[in-house]
Subunit: 360 residues, 2 copies
């Protein structure tokens, strides 16, 4: 097991990475001993891991209340959140209770937001079981549900007490979700670490074959990179926005296609291809580096083009993206591989061209 | 104008108290200049004060988006909150926007919670227009909506940038709401300040007659007392719970009668009478001090008895109150006038007796 630390003063917490961690009572004990613990998970993850987690929590002297929700992005809704509250209130969990998010990014966002606002906030643990959640969404305290007018429009910054990333849980991950998670791994390289981009180019097939050592390295390096950014800018007043590389286009893809049609990582992959093309057109990135971005995305079996929406529809969807400061859309671009930069006020024609060029 | 300060480190903020403050651009300017500002208010308050506030905000160089919701406790619901989000998103307010809560406690709780979670949190201003909101709910950062299973079950601690309490707005307050606000004023005396209890006993008629100097003193002293408690314990891990004197019974009354049937202050008044009787039975308070508590409540025209619910129903409703730590109901009692104390593990028979005795 490897343990990193996200340095946030009083809100600092450990990120444990290793195989078989979900069943380890000693990782839970300091947080849950003597407490009532709501375990929020879904109907796909529960048959695989709930019993193991529940047994370990009970060995760590927790009293467990499982809360099952449906699978998929549509669970990030008020109606599902309200059912979580209902289950917690019916079981009389008080302010001294704790939540556990057992699942992928959707469960982490949903259960994390539930913890942020249940009785004005209770602590929680992240137990990510997908690659996307292990390398990205479980780290950094962003939680949210969706609104009909946009993804993640209602949420909170609420840091977990700990993240426990069991890479053995990736054995049961569907192929498509593994690839979607790799999109965020690649993203961390593109925005922050040229050397890691090189490692990924050399080891992509090992990741796709789920070689455990390669997965552990990818999870560890992704978490390290993300933890540095979050420690420097917890509430996204500046630097943290670079983690949204590919996401402005990506959120438009998810919203335009209908939430849940595209996996988040798939939308981000196509979004990164578009952002790379936009970086070239903005004079920041060389065409050969953009080609390297697109080649790595394609080798991971991820899409370079979004759904067939009119460019006007993309522009409209990006306008409501919450990173649109005072109505102006700001993009995370690349000034080189491993170096991200924020840019606003870009020409609409340039954006349209990039949408088209990404797919070529 | 008098200005107090709630000392919370980085989250410290001023509380301005005076007549005519709602129309003062200079109070708004430092917070809103150049920003988009959503003003959340209701259909009762809007005709009285919205235009004045909007004009002052615009003089302070804000671009205003009014958001009107219905009046009453039922506005503290997800469906109303969602309509607020919808209006803000339709107007494309981004993370750099700001909300203003213009109204009573319901508006403050609703708009404050909207600000806490809209795009993971934006700043807000409290403009309380009822006595209850001026002396209590606008100060301290507690925000929430209700759940079918209990009041304020979903919420956040989210401190405003400033509180602007215009005592002239109390001129239009219905008599019943004035009295309900006085309940929380009296509460601050009972739990923290014997001298203030004496002042209230001497000046109650002036408050009921809305003499401005008396109102200003009552608002100021209440805010001072509450600010001290909140500064010492922002997130209610200990001391702050004393502000809930009368509230464990009071929330049971509100839930048992159906939200909105009883005003919050009325429920707290009857709850304080019950808590005073329980304090006597727990051996903490003299019968003569309990009589003083009840006499002041009665002189303010506030109820000493709750709705006609079976004692078992009260006990059941209090069990789900969120202050029930690990299932045990803890009560705020009095160890004397001006001295509160937290007690758990009280005998059920004693609680039943207190319910009956409060009404006598």
């Amino acid at each position: 097991m490897q343990t990193l630390r996200l340095a946030l003063g009083e809100r600092s917490y450990p990120i444990h990475i290793g195989a078989g961690l979900l069943g380890e009572p000693e990782l839970y004990r300091p947080h849950v001993r003597g407490k009532r613990v709501g375990v929020v998970t879904n109907r796909v993850v529960a048959p695989l891991y709930l019993e193991r987690v529940q047994r370990a929590l009970e060995k760590a002297e927790a009293r467990v209340v499982p809360v099952l929700v449906e699978d998929g992005e549509q669970a990030k809704s008020w109606s599902v959140l309200d059912r979580v509250f209902d289950a917690l209130l019916a079981a009389r969990l008080g302010r001294d209770a704790l939540l556990v998010a057992l699942g992928g990014g959707v469960i982490g966002d949903l259960a994390g937001f539930a913890a942020a606002v249940y009785q004005r906030g209770i602590p929680f643990l992240q137990l990510p079981t997908t690659l996307l959640a292990q390398v990205d969404s479980s780290v950094g305290g962003k939680t949210a549900i969706n609104h009909a007018r946009g993804k993640n429009m209602v949420g909170a910054f609420h840091q977990p007490l700990a993240v426990i990333a069991d890479v053995a849980s990736l054995d049961t991950l569907p192929e498509r979700e593994l690839r979607a998670g790799i999109a965020e791994v690649i993203k961390h390289g593109f925005i922050l670490d040229l050397e890691f981009v090189g490692w990924l180019e050399a080891n992509l097939e090992k990741l796709l074959a789920r070689e455990r050592a390669a997965l552990e390295h990818a999870v560890r390096r992704s978490c390290e990179l993300k933890a540095q950014v979050v420690a420097a800018d917890e509430r996204e007043s500046g630097l943290r926005a670079i983690l949204n590389f590919g996401h402005t286009f990506g959120h438009a893809i998810e919203a335009g296609a209908g939430y849940g049609e595209w996996l988040h990582g798939e939308a981000v992959a196509a979004g990164m291809a578009m952002a790379a093309e936009l970086s070239v057109r903005a004079g920041l990135l060389s065409a050969s580096d953009a080609a390297r971005v697109k080649a790595l995305i394609a080798r991971a079996g991820l899409p370079l083009r979004g759904p067939a929406l009119a460019p006007e529809r993309y522009l409209e969807l990006m306008q409501v993206d919450k990173k649109a400061a005072a109505g102006e859309v700001r993009f995370v671009l690349l000034e080189g591989l491993g170096r991200a930069a924020l840019r606003g006020g870009l020409d609409e024609a340039m954006i349209r061209e990039s949408l088209a060029a990404a797919a070529q």
